[in-house]
Symmetry: C2
Subunit: 208 residues, 2 copies
DNA sequence: AAAGTTCTTGACCAAACGGTCAGGAAACCG
DNA sequence: CGGTTTCCTGACCGTTTGGTCAAGAACTTT
């Protein structure tokens, strides 16, 4: 039983500043590419002071990942088995794209971690994540069985949604580079594009 | 005029070994996460000997990226303006997925680089890459104008193709973790899934 | 075989890094 | 106010890292 004392006003402020700075630095340079000095500087703290709040660089990283993982998976949890199937999935796509637009740092943090083999959150992937995905895939499979959406592999459907939406956060530099001046309204156009992409895939009755 | 002497037999062998080892290490840990010792060890060379062939860690990285970029873009170049539009694009999707399956290290190398802001290949993105993409987007726009495929934003279509196919290389750990035992034939199922996804999007006449 | 070139290495270096520690400053509390 | 806890810092430490260098080994060429 670890009796966690309530945090001081100063502790709250500084821990939050550290985590925000760490999110900036880790998402931009990866774990190894980030330095404690850099995080401390951005948080407006000295390095020893930062290490007064977190015991190590690794601890900051873990705190970030675990703290943000539930936030990151929340949209999928909202997928409502009793909703209108196609619209439910399209709403999920829309929400994920909004997340990519609003929280690109979080997206890149996980992207960095997973591309490099997810050494620190692998258990979370095979555990909670997999359970959640399986649960929602069962829902989708149910919809397919009842003919409410076109038959697709539920897991790979979810992969496609993750890939297409997070692409606009993780590969933002590339997207902007390729679009040039037309990059400004990229999220609006992406929204329309992805809605069409997945609505055509899922709407039953189309050519199969 | 840099008169590049022809490479020795030993030079050829060792440079190749270094680049292959570097691809392994850089793709797995990112630029900053990779160490010269690690690359040297994997290449079967001592560190000073490795630095005899490449002047610096950075030079190895740049040589890798620039050397592989053309390979990586080759599939898009093959998109044939005179081919059957839907089938041409589906062929491109298929080829990109095959690349993700066959060359996951290369995919991850670029993923690492771009997620972290593409500091070393940014000029290549706004230059050659953008030109190639624009050229092929014009082809796609032409197909749309002639009603040969459904109207979609060509740029974002390409983004969707990149995202969905490279996902299976870049986020392989996650894909495997979520699929569990069913991960074995993930590429076969992905192939089917993506073919359906993009064929439904592009086949004209469907609900718009 | 001799000379010249290419290849390889152990030893070394300066900088950067994650982390420690003693002790002072500030905030809190009776 | 005085005592106690919390907060903060300069100086420091051991390790890792990218990179150098002088000198020897191996290969080529004549």
């Amino acid at each position: 039983m670890t009796a966690t004392k309530p945090l001081t006003r100063i502790q709250q402020k500084n821990r939050a500043a550290i985590l925000d700075a760490a999110l900036d630095v880790f998402s931009a340079h990866g774990y190894r590419g980030a330095t404690v000095d850099q995080i401390a500087l951005q948080a407006g703290l000295s390095k020893p002071n930062l290490l007064y709040y977190f015991p190590s660089k690794d601890a900051i990283h873990v705190a970030l990942l675990t703290g943000l993982l539930s936030t990151w998976l929340a949209p999928l949890e909202q997928l409502d088995p009793d909703g209108e199937p196609v619209e439910e999935i399209l709403k999920y796509v829309d929400l994920k794209l909004t997340m990519a637009e609003t929280y690109p740092r979080e997206s890149r943090l996980f992207a960095n971690e997973i591309v490099q083999g997810a050494p620190r959150i692998h258990d979370n992937l095979t555990g909670p994540l997999r359970r959640l995905v399986d649960e929602k895939c069962a829902v989708i499979a149910g919809w397919i069985a009842r003919g409410l959406i076109a038959p697709v592999d539920p897991h790979h459907l979810i992969f496609s949604i993750w890939a297409t939406t997070q692409h606009y956060a993780d590969f933002d530099v590339q997207v902007r580079a390729v679009l040039g001046d037309a990059a400004e309204n990229r999220f609006a156009i992406a929204r329309e594009h992805l809605r069409m992409l997945f609505s055509r895939l899922l709407t039953p009755g189309a050519a199969g």
